[in-house]
Symmetry: C2
Subunit: 195 residues, 2 copies
C-alpha cells in the first residue's frame, strides 16, 4: 500500500464522505512525502511550524525543554496521526516545542495555505477536520481532568486502558514524561501493580 493510499483510507474511514479521483489528485499534488531517521527533528524550538505531517509509518514525540534542561513530553504520536505544533502552524509564530522522530518516520506533509485549499475544495477533507476537532476536544478535556485530579497511578492505569499499544511502541521513560512523572516513579508504580 502506497503512502497516499494510507492517507486516503484514513480520510475515508473517519469522514464517511467519498474522495473523488479529482480529490485524490489534488491531495497527491500537494502532500509531499518526507522521511526522517530516528532522532531527527520534524520541528525545532524557535522555528515556525510550516508543515503539518500525516504519519504513514513510525513514531514521534512533542516535547519542551525547560531552563534546567528538563525535557517534558506533551504528545506521543503514531501512524495515522497528525504531527504539528498547531499554535505555530496556525499563527505562524515561532514554536516553543520540539518534535522528534522516535523511530524512522515517514510522513506526508503540507502547508497551512494548502490545507485551507483542501478544506475549501474537498468535502471529505473538511468533514474529516470537523471529526478530528471534536475528538481532540473530547480527548483533551479528559486529559486535562486526569492531569489535575488523578494520581500518578491512576493516570498510568488510564493509559493502559486507553492506549495499550503505547506500552509496546514507546520507551518507558517517554511514557513517564508523557504522564508527567519521573522515570523512577513510573518504574515503582509498575513494580507495585504486579502484586
Amino acid at each position: 500500500m502506497s503512502n497516499f493510499e494510507v492517507l486516503f483510507d484514513y480520510i475515508q474511514e473517519i469522514s464517511d464522505k467519498l474522495l473523488s479521483e479529482d480529490d485524490k489528485h489534488l491531495l497527491m499534488a500537494h502532500f509531499k512525502p518526507k522521511k526522517l531517521r530516528k532522532r531527527q527533528y520534524f520541528l525545532q524550538e524557535g522555528d515556525v511550524c510550516k508543515y503539518i505531517g500525516f504519519i504513514v509509518k513510525g513514531s514521534a514525540r512533542t516535547f519542551t525543554v525547560d531552563e534546567k534542561g528538563h525535557e517534558n513530553v506533551l504528545k506521543l504520536s503514531l501512524e495515522n496521526w497528525w504531527l504539528a505544533d498547531f499554535e505555530s502552524f496556525y499563527l505562524l509564530t515561532p514554536s516553543r516545542f520540539n518534535i522528534e522522530a522516535l523511530e524512522d518516520l515517514e510522513v506526508l506533509q503540507s502547508t497551512n495555505a494548502q490545507i485551507e485549499e483542501f478544506l475549501k475544495h474537498i468535502p471529505a477533507f473538511s468533514a474529516m477536520q470537523n471529526i478530528i476537532s471534536q475528538n481532540y476536544t473530547i480527548a483533551t478535556q479528559k486529559r486535562m481532568q486526569a492531569a489535575y485530579s488523578y494520581t500518578a497511578e491512576e493516570r498510568y492505569e488510564d493509559l493502559i486502558i486507553n492506549y495499550p499499544h503505547f506500552l509496546k511502541r514507546f520507551p518507558q521513560n517517554m511514557i513517564a514524561s508523557y504522564l508527567g512523572l519521573s522515570p523512577e516513579t513510573l518504574s515503582r508504580i509498575r513494580k507495585n501493580s504486579f502484586k
Copy 2:
C-alpha cells in the same frame, strides 16, 4: 443591548464575515434565552448535555466530584464564552461533569442538531467555529503544558498574566481548584508573592 445583539456582535467580531438579516433571524428563531439563578445547574452529572449555551451575562464553573466528594473545577466561564460538556454534547452520552452558575446567569442556548444547521447555512457561524476551534486547540495545549510542567506558583502567575479578570470575578477557592490546588496552598502562595 439585547441578548441577541451581544451574540451577533460576538460572531461578527471573531468571524469577520457579515451576518445577513436572514442569518440573524435564523439565529433568533433557534437560540432560546434561559436564565439561571446563582447556584442553579446548567448541567448535572449523569444527564446528557443537550444544550450549548452562549453566556450573555454571569459566570459558571464546570466541575467533577470524585468518590471522596472532592470537587474539581475544570473550567471557569464568563460572558461571551460557550457553555457545554462537549463530549456529552457531541456524542449525546451522559456527562461526567456538572456546570453550575456562580452568579445569576443569562444564556442563549441551542441544540446540537440546530448548531449543525447554523454551520451549514450561516457562513459567519462556521467561520466563527473554525476560529474558536483553533483558539481552543492553542489554549488547551498551553494549559496541558502548564499542568504537567509548571509549579503551583508558576501556574498562578500564568493566570494573573493571562486571565487577570478571573481574580475579580471568581472566589479564590474556585481559582485554587481550577489551578489544581487546595485553597490553603493558593492562600500561602498569595501571601508569599507579596514580599
